[in-house]
């Protein structure tokens, strides 16, 4: 390739010469970067502190403290959301605000938008930290935040951040966009698309307000049901969930790497061509891979196969980023020994390489059959977040600190210690979780020589993990401590800042209107085939892409097209092909009380530990019963298939354990019925009341989404009261607690008694036929 020759020039002739004489004067806005850096550090500590608490809760269930808002099920979403959107989110904003200004030779488009973005995002995080422990959740992983916060995210992301970023691109004084900016563009547009389409819902309280003029409970006001149900909801969720990893935790961090790594190493990027190829292949291929989160589930096999093969094809595009990172260090490896910034980057990029090898491997169906629902997944995501996102972030912050605070880093030794303690912490974390994951996966599927399950009781496979949970807690604590050390170091650095920050004036010429691209290079083919010549000049010699790099809007449109086209290839058949959801006649909507109970199941975050999806794998049907069918979850909004079995699968709970007194005792004290259980107890379920009158609005919202709710449309509270009374009586007459007829526990039990039973009932049509005979 002769891209070296592809150098255009700004205008021509006397006009242009005059235009070029003029230099704009401007100042970079580093204050906003400092704000995002502080926010990153604050949320890093909080997110990881919550993580350590969760780790302890699994090793030591008493750490749930019997308090509703600190139980594992409610706290785990807070941890994941804080780690992704608060810690990594603020980190990428710091990276983008610092590097975009410099790569565009322009101050951010609007200081006001920058501040709105900053404070809006922190507001969203605080509201997440308040609502998640209170049990306001959509029950979909990494998309837990309820509808009012969803709206706020859309406004802040698109309206403040997006407009600010693209405004800066338009006002840039650098003709071509550097690869880091490509990755930022992909991040901003794709996250917006993912967020919006996975969060389409009907807000229950708003609907109720329009119908009746009032909202019967605060819970209703916050509650929403997704427009998708069952299989389709699962598909959309993991399209979102997987691509949140891709476009929130990967592409912006690659952009970060492309700016801060060559800066810190003072070396040129290894290969411009590799940047182009791996950028576009990542953007196009990543989007397809979501269904690998749903292998062996009721998702159609073709979708799951697509998820697998696109994950395999993603291996090399991902490694393109790793190669470009590590090979950029050629000639600078001696610096890695002394510079903590480069240490963080090298290990961060290495973790990126390891997890992007591991990801495709885990997406292979037969590997996934072992790893799914186990701690292997937990190990995988933590090598990504702690290793890749965490270390890239801390490397960046250590590089930025002296520049932002215009002083020396307080202690290089402490930064190096941060690196080593953090690295050992990650290793303890991931190695213990790999071991735990493989151990539990093998125990679940083990048969002994007589042909029976070697570990017939689920609890045996949990208690076996206790030592690993302790090691994980130690590793996590070390990582948290290393972050604390880092915060102290940055704080001490900040204390030695000058009384007034120097704001050097930058000079750069505005882009002239009459830029001329370089002349097209000659084709190197001599065969006189027009098509071949075009391919050589435009693609192989890079002329077309080089030209594209100076058209941000065209570039953005191409990214959007790539992402949307790839999504539609999967989504259109998913929503139109009938065989994707084979309906089952006997599957009926939940009763009003069961629906309310299901909402409690979601609110308590039960899905964080219990799956509801039995895979067609013999060891699994032997343990849990008939595998789950797509037609069974058509009324499930949201779907609750889960992704981790810290406790057993519950898809057939109503078949195998419909015993209300058992469940009541179990919720009061899980070890009472299940010795060794690490489930927290749920005393508040026996005190908090069912808001019967609020159920009508929920039934109405479901009916509006097409759920055939006959009688319940007019009579939901009364029906719920009757069913609740019957279950309360069942508990009381077995010697259980009396007077539970209006307590939440009864609604939750009603739901559990229903789980997985419809498939056994006679089809609705047959029941009437039988009635007619009498």
């Amino acid at each position: 390739m002769s891209a070296a020759r592809l150098q255009g020039h700004e205008g021509g002739g006397a006009d242009a010469a005059r235009a070029n004489d003029h230099l704009d004067e401007f100042v970079y806005d580093d204050k906003i970067v400092r704000m995002f850096v502080w926010a990153t550090l604050l949320w890093a500590f909080i997110a990881m502190l919550v993580g350590v608490v969760l780790a302890l809760q699994l090793a030591l269930p008493e750490a749930n403290l019997g308090l509703a808002w600190v139980t594992f099920g409610r706290l785990r979403p807070l941890h994941t959301n804080a780690a992704i959107f608060a810690f990594a989110g603020n980190a990428i904003f710091a990276a983008i605000y610092y590097s975009t200004q410099r790569l565009c030779k322009a101050r951010m488009f609007s200081d006001r938008l920058s501040r709105l973005h900053f404070w809006g995002w922190q507001g969203i995080i605080v509201s997440a930290a308040l609502t998640l422990p209170l049990g306001f959740t959509q029950g979909k992983e990494y998309a837990e935040l309820e509808w009012p916060i969803d709206l706020a995210i859309a406004v802040v992301w698109v309206g403040f951040f997006g407009v600010n970023f693209f405004g800066t691109l338009i006002r840039r004084r650098e003709r071509h966009m550097y690869v880091a900016l490509w990755f930022y563009i992909a991040t901003i547009v794709t996250v917006a698309i993912l967020h919006i389409f996975n969060n389409l819902w009907i807000p229950v309280g708003v609907l109720e307000f329009f119908k009746t003029g009032e909202v019967s409970s605060f819970d209703n006001l916050m509650k929403s049901y997704p427009i998708y149900s069952g299989v389709q909801d699962a598909f959309m969720q993991w399209w979102y969930g997987h691509n949140a990893v891709a476009f929130f935790l990967t592409t912006p961090f690659l952009g970060l790497m492309y700016y801060f790594l060559p800066k810190a190493a003072e070396r040129p990027i290894f290969s411009y061509r590799l940047s182009i190829v791996h950028f576009w292949s990542i953007v196009f291929i990543y989007i397809w891979a979501g269904p690998h989160h749903l292998h062996y589930t009721a998702l159609a096999a073709w979708a799951s196969s697509l998820g697998m093969v696109f994950s395999l094809m993603l291996w090399m595009p991902s490694w393109g980023g790793m190669i470009n990172g590590l090979l950029t260090l050629r000639g600078a490896w001696n610096k890695v020994a002394t510079d903590p910034v480069l240490k963080f980057f090298v290990v961060g990029i290495t973790f990126y390489g390891m997890s992007t090898f591991e990801g495709p491997m885990l997406s292979i169906k037969s590997v996934n059959a072992l790893s799914h629902y186990t701690d292997w997944t937990i190990a995988h995501v933590h090598s990504g977040t702690l290793g890749w996102n965490g270390f890239m972030t801390f490397g960046m912050i250590y590089w930025l600190a002296p520049r932002l605070f215009q002083t020396k880093l307080y202690s290089v030794k402490a930064a190096t210690a941060h690196f080593w303690i953090g690295t050992i912490g990650i290793l303890l974390y991931v190695i213990s979780m790999y071991t735990a994951g493989v151990t539990q996966g093998l125990m679940w599927r083990a048969f002994d020589s007589t042909g029976r399950l070697a570990y017939p009781q689920f609890i045996e496979t949990v208690t076996r993990l206790a030592p690993f949970y302790w090691i994980r807690a130690i590793g996590g604590t070390m990582y948290l401590a290393s972050v604390g050390l880092g915060i102290w170091n940055i704080w001490m650095t900040w204390r030695t800042r000058p009384p007034q920050y120097d704001e050097p004036i930058q000079y750069a010429a505005p882009l002239s209107k009459n830029y001329q691209d370089p002349p097209k290079p000659e084709s190197r083919l001599h065969a006189n085939i027009a098509f071949g010549d075009k391919v050589d000049v435009n693609i192989l010699q890079g002329w077309w892409h080089r030209r594209l790099e100076r058209f941000p809007m065209k570039f953005t449109v191409l990214v959007i097209v790539a992402v949307i086209v790839a999504s539609l290839f999967e989504a259109i058949p998913m929503f139109t092909v009938k065989s994707v959801v084979k309906t089952i006649d006997s599957v009926q909507p939940y009763t009003p009380l069961e629906l309310y109970g299901r909402d409690l199941y979601v609110a308590e975050g039960c899905y964080n530990c219990h799956s509801q999806m039995i895979r067609p794998i013999f060891a699994e049907t032997k343990r849990y019963g008939e595998y789950s069918k797509a037609g069974e979850s058509i009324y499930d909004r949201p779907f609750q298939w889960g992704s981790r079995r810290i406790g057993p699968d519950l898809a057939r709970e109503g078949q195998t354990n419909p015993n209300a007194p058992w469940h009541a005792r179990h919720f009061a004290e899980p070890t009472d019925t299940s010795p060794g259980s690490i489930m927290p107890s749920y005393p508040w379920l026996f005190e908090k009341k069912i808001e019967f009158e609020s159920i009508q609005a929920r039934v109405d919202a479901m009916a509006m989404l097409g759920v055939p709710y006959g009688e319940a449309i007019n009579n939901a509270p009364q029906m719920a009261r009757e069913q609740a009374a019957a279950i309360a009586l069942e508990i009381e007459s077995d010697g259980g607690r009396p007077n539970l007829a209006d307590k939440q526990v009864v609604a939750l039990i009603a739901y559990l008694k229903r789980l997985g039973t419809d498939i056994l009932s006679p089809p609705a049509g047959d029941a009437t036929a039988a009635g007619g005979e009498e």
Binding site: A4, P268, Y272, R273, L274, S281, D448, Q457, F618, Q655
Partner: protein, 205 residues
């Protein structure tokens, strides 16, 4: 920062951004090869497993595994009848009771306790029974459930042989000594006559 090292690490491109330069290095050959290989494999895999009649679906694989496992497990005893003689003859059988024990551990202990001492389900070790008076009725209760669903029907879940084996295992639990200090469920129902004696022709070989 662009160092004059074009020769050693590649050819530098002329552009630079905020001091960051880029080499014009080609993408590595092994990278191309694996990328292309993964694409080719993917095309083959997707079309073969989606459209070929030779490829078994996950459901078919499951059915096959289930058939194979049960065949392996029960090849020796064939189809068991849930009659009195069969159940009596299996009680305490060293080969088959471990199988039943596994079924019990997976499905029954949460309500009946790990030793059958009773929890929310009845104590199976005493002489009181709620839903049956004869040994064959154990299999019926397992098959169809009892107590208006508090005891679920296992007929749709377990292999017919598993139900017979489980009935024998449960029958054998009667009279089992529970270690002192273990909480047992209070007796429910009536005392029923002891199980019939094991026929000599079956037990004495």
């Amino acid at each position: 920062m662009t160092q004059p090292d074009s020769g050693q690490y590649g050819h530098l491109l002329e552009h630079e951004y905020d001091g960051i330069a880029e080499y014009d290095n080609p993408t590595p050959g092994w990278w191309h090869t694996i990328f292309l290989g993964s694409v080719l494999f993917s095309v083959f895999y997707f079309f073969f497993f989606t459209f070929s009649p030779m490829a078994l679906t996950e459901e078919e694989q499951h059915a096959e595994a289930q058939r194979r496992e049960f065949q392996k497990l029960f090849a020796e005893i064939g189809e068991l009848e849930a009659d009195q003689a069969t159940i009596l003859s299996l009680m305490g059988d060293p080969q088959w009771m471990p199988v039943a024990e596994g079924v019990f551990a997976t499905n029954c202990v949460s309500c009946h306790g790990s030793m059958g001492q009773g929890l929310v389900g009845p104590n199976l070790t005493d002489d009181y029974f709620k839903n049956l008076t004869e040994i064959t009725q154990i299999a019926e209760v397992i098959q169809n459930g009892a107590a208006s669903g508090a005891m679920p029907a296992w007929g749709n879940r377990l292999h017919p042989n598993e139900i017979v084996l489980l009935a024998a295992y449960v029958a054998d639990m009667r009279g089992r000594t529970i270690p002192p200090g273990t909480r047992t469920r209070d007796p429910e129902g009536e005392v029923i006559p002891p199980w019939p004696p094991v026929p000599d022709s079956v037990s004495g070989e």
